[in-house]
């Protein structure tokens, strides 16, 4: 059975985060990516497969080579997942500050 890939599990792995950083600056082939790691080539291929499955990486054929590109839209979605939560607390705390300032003014 093929488990659905979770994007947050994908970026929890340090090698996969390193791959994303590498590809972020330029599109690379699987071979070029693997040459940056001591890890065995099949292991790197597995990481690339996971990153592609959860759409953090995209493959594009150029001539005989397949290049890996970063999917900026998906990456932004991951980076932003904490932002609504942070905004909620920021709103609450802004309200708290306003209320307590008014509270001192009333005294």
């Amino acid at each position: 059975m093929n488990l659905r890939r979770d994007v947050f599990q994908a970026i929890a792995d340090p090698t996969r985060r390193a791959i994303l950083l590498l590809v972020a600056s330029q599109a690379l082939t699987a071979g070029a990516i693997a040459s940056n790691f001591d890890t065995a080539r099949p292991t790197v291929s597995k990481h690339l497969q996971i990153l592609t499955e959860c759409e953090l990486l995209e493959q594009k054929q150029t001539g005989r080579e397949i290049y890996y590109y970063i999917n900026a839209k998906k990456m932004k979605q991951v980076a932003d997942f904490i932002e609504p939560f942070r905004n909620m607390w920021d709103d609450r705390f802004n309200t708290l500050e306003a209320i307590m300032k008014a509270y001192t003014a009333k005294k």
């Binding site: 947050f8 970026i11 929890a12 985060r17 997942f81 904490i82 609504p84 939560f85 942070r86 905004n87 909620m88 607390w89 920021d90 709103d91 609450r92 705390f93 802004n94 309200t95 708290l96 500050e97 306003a98 209320i99 307590m100 300032k101 008014a102 509270y103 001192t104």
Partner: protein
């Protein structure tokens, strides 16, 4: 002066840290966390029960503008040290998110400024990420409305 709320959530960890500095003396910051009528105003929730003491328990409820109950939450208070620390558990009723432990520390910066740090520990990494991904829009709008109502009353 605008002060920003920071949320630190590291990959693959089952906890988060929320910190914020306030233009308020520590006594007022703490009071806002201890008194039901003040919590209702800034959290945008109805306080059904709040025993601000060691071994006390608490229960809040959020309702939609139409008056329907959106979520009930509650837990117990493990530690309550005025102007220093509140330790409590937090659980949303009828949800699969389990229980979380919240350690809230209060810190005096100057006579007129203070800081709060909330350390929230979830049952698992997966549970933390699920909770962080919950849709918050409704709660946010509600808090805005409460603030607006409050400011209007002051005019």
């Amino acid at each position: 002066m605008e002060r920003k709320t920071k949320v630190n959530a590291e990959d693959g960890k089952q906890d988060i840290m929320i910190t914020r500095e306030f233009d308020l003396p520590i006594e007022l910051l703490f009071k806002a966390h201890a008194e039901p009528e003040l919590i209702e105003q800034w959290m945008g929730t109805k306080v059904l029960k709040l025993e601000s003491k060691k071994h006390g328990s608490w229960q809040f409820e959020t309702t939609s503008p139409k008056g329907n109950i959106v979520v009930q939450m509650g837990g117990v208070i493990h530690e309550f040290i005025p102007n220093q620390k509140i330790t409590r558990t937090f659980e949303m009723a009828n949800t699969p998110f389990g229980v979380q432990l919240e350690i809230t520390k209060f810190e005096k910066l100057t006579d007129d400024t203070s800081k709060v740090s909330m350390h929230v520990i979830y049952e698992s990494v997966a549970q933390r990420d699920e909770v962080l991904k919950l849709p918050f829009a409704q709660g946010i709008n509600y808090a805005h409305n409460r603030l607006q109502d409050f400011m209007n009353k002051l005019k």
